[in-house]
Symmetry: C2
Subunit: 275 residues, 2 copies
Amino acid sequence: MKPRVGHIQFINCFPLFYGLIEKKFLLEIELIKGNPTDLNRMLAGNLLDLAPIPSIAYARNYRDYVLMPDISVSCDGEVKSIYLFSRLPIERLHNKKIALTNISRTSQALLRILMARCYNIAPEYFQSAPELGAMLMEADAALLIGDDALRARYKTRDRLYIYDLGQEWKNFTGLPMVFAVWAIRRDFAHNHRDELKLIRDTFTDSIKFSLECIQDCAAKASQWEDFSADYLVEYFNSLRFDFDPRKQEGLLQYYKEAKNQGIIDEVPPLEIIDL
Amino acid sequence: MKPRVGHIQFINCFPLFYGLIEKKFLLEIELIKGNPTDLNRMLAGNLLDLAPIPSIAYARNYRDYVLMPDISVSCDGEVKSIYLFSRLPIERLHNKKIALTNISRTSQALLRILMARCYNIAPEYFQSAPELGAMLMEADAALLIGDDALRARYKTRDRLYIYDLGQEWKNFTGLPMVFAVWAIRRDFAHNHRDELKLIRDTFTDSIKFSLECIQDCAAKASQWEDFSADYLVEYFNSLRFDFDPRKQEGLLQYYKEAKNQGIIDEVPPLEIIDL
């Protein structure tokens, strides 16, 4: 059976997809698309062999998984797709209501960490469907991620304070932030080392290819979206797809902070398979 | 939004997929895989814009759809993947039990037509999961289709009588048999003529490409399957992917026979969109 590989159907993973098409790699793997939360559930249920999952999900299920080397969805400063949109300067959000997109636990945790640790303030959080207008009817600020955040940033003409959580994390820790990691089911990993090596090589080659012809890649991504190609070039350039030691350090720091906030029970080891 | 296009995840549609990968067409459409019955349900539920669906499903829902020209899954004689496996010669199956794969209504109807009209016999039919061994524990004959039928034909060493329903239909009518047609939602068809033209052109080019390099295509298809490449070359060569006037005639003849057997209420018009 072909390896069953999850794929995040957000624009942030388009450079990977674009390269996989170029390399005709969908003849070698079964690529199953979904949002990170769905992929996490499918991986846990053995409907996938490996998948990008939210960083926080790895912390909660690490015993069942090992990590793919050399690939992640990260940033090192601005991420341009995880924003707090606020009617007030962030310092004045103490005791105010913040609506959190209900599709990301990793970013929710990141916001809580930053609020508690950088700004020393305690807003009142509640979860909401990711629609900025509706969120700001009920709250003073709203957290959006992914395509929702990109769109809101691109379209919103309201006078809002906008905070990029990748940049906030960088200011706080000096480190990159890792949003998603590629987790491999432990049982699969032990019996499919050759396939995993091929997948790792093709994934890193695919991203390299797309970043080398980033204008073409962005033009194709913009074809069915509301964004200009130029905007997507900027966006893709702000993302990081590798998983080098600094990314790993950033991820462990995030886990430590999340544990201190009581969001996860323990800091998981980063068990990266050696391919 | 990219056109949402269904794809039959059977080996019989691999030549189409292989060509789509070669032409990098998955950057232009959202390809959603499934079996024909699932695709039919998703198309009806507006989760897809167009999809290959079983011929019998088109007859039941034709008011909502128009047909894509120039493409079908058909045969003109042997189909090599729709078999009746029988312990007895077919003429002796009167009043005997026949287990029918529960994943195909089109082939079930075809078998009923052939039994009634060619052999003038009335077996007792019941539906079953598509597993030959289990089916033949409870029945004297079993109908399998698609990959199940291919596998059973390839592996079975039992002494069984094997009837190819494509060939039986050809013997009976002199006509091709059409198993699946590409149906387009009527609302989508009227507003997306340019996309549909591109899809039609790319689909027919893709199949042409794959049949021209059929050894490579079959080798790739056999990589994750139990079949040899040579077996798949033979199989692909027995299939027909066009939808010429003879195929249309065969399809209408099938609908007439199905109506006479009380399987469908009316013979639907073949409303093929002019692209």
